[in-house]
Symmetry: none
Subunit: 187 residues, 2 copies
Amino acid sequence: MTDDQTSAPLGAIAESLRRERTRTGLSLSEVAKRAGIAKSTLSQLESGSGNPSIETLWALGVALGVPFSRLVDPPRPRVRVVRAGEGPAITSEQAHFIGTLLASCPPHARRDIYVISMEPGAPRKADPHIPGSVEHLLVGAGRLRTGPADDVVEIGAGDYTTFPGDVPHVYEALEPGTWAVMVMEHV
Amino acid sequence: MTDDQTSAPLGAIAESLRRERTRTGLSLSEVAKRAGIAKSTLSQLESGSGNPSIETLWALGVALGVPFSRLVDPPRPRVRVVRAGEGPAITSEQAHFIGTLLASCPPHARRDIYVISMEPGAPRKADPHIPGSVEHLLVGAGRLRTGPADDVVEIGAGDYTTFPGDVPHVYEALEPGTWAVMVMEHV
DNA sequence: CAGTGCCGTTCGTCAACACGAACGAGTGTA
DNA sequence: TACACTCGTTCGTGTTGACGAACGGCACTG
């Protein structure tokens, strides 16, 4: 839906519906019942003939437990996964900040997984990333002050926050031994 | 599409359509003409009455120059924090396993971010997911035995592991209060 | 003041989506 | 073998979305 704006997603929806349904292991009848639609409707949609309404497709997304957009979004060409552990450590100029790439971002998947470790000290200022990028942070231990420069939040172990990565933002450890999982999401 | 899976997005679509149209400065008639739909249709959609088909909404997304999902997805707050223990819990049949969806997979990205909490007890067996899916696990506290049924590893706080999700695999907490970040990666 | 042009809305008509019933096929059971 | 059950598909019907025409309103022009 970002690139191939022109092609109507009818066929893609058909594939997605069948794929997500088989993933859950549910029958066509069962999914239709949970979604509150006629199973004949679902049958036609999965066969590719049909132009469902928003409400219909939304109900199916709920029944299948997947985000709505995943049904419209055609799956990308098969991508070989780059295993973690081989990611190089990305040391910062500040010695109290260490980032390790756990799983690099495969083509067309756009979330890099890092774990970062920080010690208390001067806040680490990060320059804006590419427009549209989003950061996710989940603290494993310690406390962390982070977020856009004008909207900083303080989170502790187990807490999660997400904020735009395309504006200046900061990280600051408040306790020794602070570490967090960071997922960098690109457009 | 990320959070309020239950609420039908009809009103949100109406708002999005009008918002994106005024953003471009185009008239309702002009947008309808570019999208190849009747302006009466667009008028009703912007007024909130209507349940457009996928093709109709897709054409509008093209005409407005915005990704399809942005019309369905109401804009989120910039910064979002999920405190430890909060968030939509996805409880399992085994009471000692709790999963919380932190960030569902945006279009074209294929990684959902969860945090799971487990207590010691019988190992939780997970059925295979769709072929090509990969799981990433990073332990925040406690100890965890996990992995494919024939290749289980034991990891502790701060440890990370990844393994294919398309084969049967297990999770077993070895200490009370075990929790971990899980990133589910789809094809 | 008519005349022109575009705005967004409302109304009647037609096509199509969603529905429910019925169907054939496959499976397990008495 | 007959029965009961669920599977997914096909068919006929009615509700509704999408269409085009006509409408009132507004700005500009002769």
